[in-house]
């Protein structure tokens, strides 16, 4: 066998061993079924809800001018919303006065506004650079 395939099959086998270790540790839990439900739920959440939503938003961008910048801004904004969402929708009071101390809703709006401003500036600058050049110099 070539060295590359030795590495390949070695990595695959090691991967199976690590999965086995994880599965064995999971089976040792008091409620492995509860974990399985959440694992399956993670797939449903992504494949069934999040990905179709993202694709639907993507359809709105097809063929638009400045599509790349708009898509970049949406990826940044979407990531920020996802990461902040648990802070905003977590039920109950914070576990102690120094946990979750910031005004997250306000801060998210500020950061999203900054994303919009940066995207707008990039679009304006790019359009300005690409404007039709009238050659008035050099003659």
């Amino acid at each position: 066998m070539k060295t590359a395939s030795v590495f390949r099959y070695g990595a695959g086998a090691l991967g199976l061993v690590l999965i086995g270790i994880g599965a064995w540790r999971l089976a040792d839990q008091p409620d492995p079924l509860g974990v399985l439900v959440w694992l399956a739920g993670a797939v449903v959440l992504h494949d069934g809800i999040l990905a179709p939503l993202v694709l639907a938003v993507g359809l709105l961008l097809v063929g638009r001018r400045d599509r790349g910048v708009l898509r970049g801004a949406l990826v940044v904004a979407g990531s920020l919303v996802l990461v902040t969402l648990p802070l905003l929708v977590r039920p109950g009071a914070p576990p102690n006065p120094s946990a979750l101390p910031l005004p997250y809703g306000r801060n998210l709006v500020i950061v999203l506004a900054a994303v919009v401003v940066v995207a707008a500036v990039v679009i304006v600058v790019r359009r300005w650079r690409r404007r039709p050049q009238r050659s008035t110099d050099g003659d």
């Binding site: 590359a4 099959y9 990595a11 695959g12 090691l14 991967g15 061993v17 999965i19 086995g20 270790i21 994880g22 599965a23 540790r25 999971l26 040792d28 839990q29 008091p30 409620d31 509860g34 974990v35 959440w38 694992l39 993670a42 797939v43 959440l45 992504h46 494949d47 999040l50 990905a51 993202v54 993507g58 790349g68 910048v69 898509r71 970049g72 801004a73 990826v75 940044v76 979407g78 990531s79 920020l80 990461v83 902040t84 648990p86 802070l87 039920p91 914070p94 576990p95 102690n96 006065p97 120094s98 946990a99 979750l100 101390p101 910031l102 997250y104 801060n107 998210l108 950061v111 994303v115």
Partner: protein, 392 residues
């Protein structure tokens, strides 16, 4: 990415055209994009796994390791756990973009071509489930939200092995495709439509920007030079009594001032003794600048003042460097009420039974009358409201 689909078997397909798999006309759902994002995701998960193992074994060392866990560098755990949470947050962005590039493969037709194909799809399903589960549970854990019926720490640890294993397996299965699309001039990349290259760069730039902005607005909770940008992290390094965040308050631990009136420090060893708080304050004190670094990712450096643990051990007839220590807190219940520290930690001249924080006696929430502060150690093991030390 692909995973289980529940589509009718082949023959019914013609009769039910409405159930045909969706067609994806969008660009960049290709192997070059998947490789470009996938390798960064691989790096992020590798860092998460390695730093997670560090955290796990610092908290639950096997017996043969317990006395040899290194107390230096003092900032070690601050770095590894800060990285763990920061790369975990970055992995959320990278994982979602990676899954977006390969999403159409979820609907390949026929869903299963061969036994090998079925196994490959199963392995990808395990990868997707465990990876999404892992970043989701991690994200909810740092905001201390536990909506699931299991215990976070052992399950997050177990699933980490599944994620690491499925990534290795996935890379092994896809090795030829990854190699063919590794570089801009690789064979497989050149076979893709050339006009996509520019669009791909733009997507990667957007992804990089998202990772950058998420990191910038959260990493200040542990990387304090950037704390001015800490807008969206679950903690702020200055927010808490005496300018330091708290993980478990005295009220939550069932510790109150009236209960402390009769407080004594009991030290057990060959020559056991008891000290009042005044006795402790009268002992030679050491100052140390040490970080407190929480498993949830935040960390802050502070000025601590107190008595060296090794001095307290020697007074009880202990042998620093050889004896381990058991520390018991006044807290009524909790997984960390009793803490053991290996010989290297107990011996370290920076390991203190701290009485003061930033020049003031400890606040009750920071462990008044006395707490442990040691270098390179998870915050949950910096036991507060200490009332008993036992040489082991």
């Amino acid at each position: 990415m692909d995973s289980m689909t529940s589509r009718p078997p082949g023959p019914r397909r013609a009769a039910l055209p409405a159930l045909r798999p969706p067609a994806f006309t969008g660009r960049l759902h290709d192997a070059r994009t998947a490789t470009s994002v996938g390798r960064w995701l691989g790096v992020a998960f590798a860092v998460c796994f390695a730093t997670g193992l560090v955290s796990h074994y610092l908290q639950h060392p096997p017996d043969w390791l317990a006395n040899h866990l290194p107390a230096r560098p003092a900032w070690g755990y601050r770095l590894t756990q800060g990285l763990h949470v920061a790369t975990g947050l970055a992995a959320i962005v990278l994982l979602l973009v990676k899954l977006w590039t390969v999403y159409p493969r979820l609907f390949v037709w026929p869903p299963v071509r061969s036994a090998r194909h079925a196994l490959e799809r199963l392995s990808v399903a395990v990868l997707v489930a465990s990876a999404v589960f892992q970043v989701l549970t991690g994200l909810l854990n740092i905001v201390e939200w536990y909506p699931w019926p299991f215990s976070f720490v052992p399950v997050h640890f177990a699933v980490a092995w599944v994620v690491a294993g499925s990534i290795l397996l996935h890379v092994a299965v896809k090795a030829p495709e990854i190699t063919a699309h590794w570089g801009r001039r690789s064979e497989g990349t050149l076979a893709l439509p050339a006009e996509d290259a520019r669009d791909r760069r733009s997507l990667l730039l957007g992804t990089g920007a998202a990772v950058g902005v998420v990191t910038l607005t959260t990493v200040g909770q542990s990387f304090t030079p950037l704390k001015a940008f800490d807008l969206l992290a679950p903690r702020h390094p200055d927010d808490g009594p005496q300018g330091l965040p708290v993980n478990r308050t005295a009220a939550a631990a069932g510790v109150s001032v009236p209960g402390l009136r009769t407080w004594r420090l009991e030290v057990y060893g060959p020559r056991p003794y008891t000290l009042t708080l005044d006795d402790l304050w009268a002992m030679p004190r050491t100052a140390a600048r040490l970080p407190i670094a929480c498993v949830e990712g935040w960390s802050v450096e502070a000025h601590w003042g107190g008595v060296r643990v090794r001095d307290l051990m020697e007074r009880a007839g202990g042998r620093p460097g050889r004896d381990a220590l058991r520390v018991t807190s006044l807290e009524v219940s909790g997984a960390y009420r009793v803490m053991e520290m290996g010989a290297e930690y107990a011996e370290d001249p920076l390991t203190l039974l701290a009485l003061a924080l930033n020049g003031q006696p400890l606040a009750l929430d920071h462990g008044y009358p006395a707490r442990i502060i040691a270098p390179n150690r998870p915050g949950v093991l910096q036991t507060k409201w200490v009332h008993r030390l036992e040489l082991l």
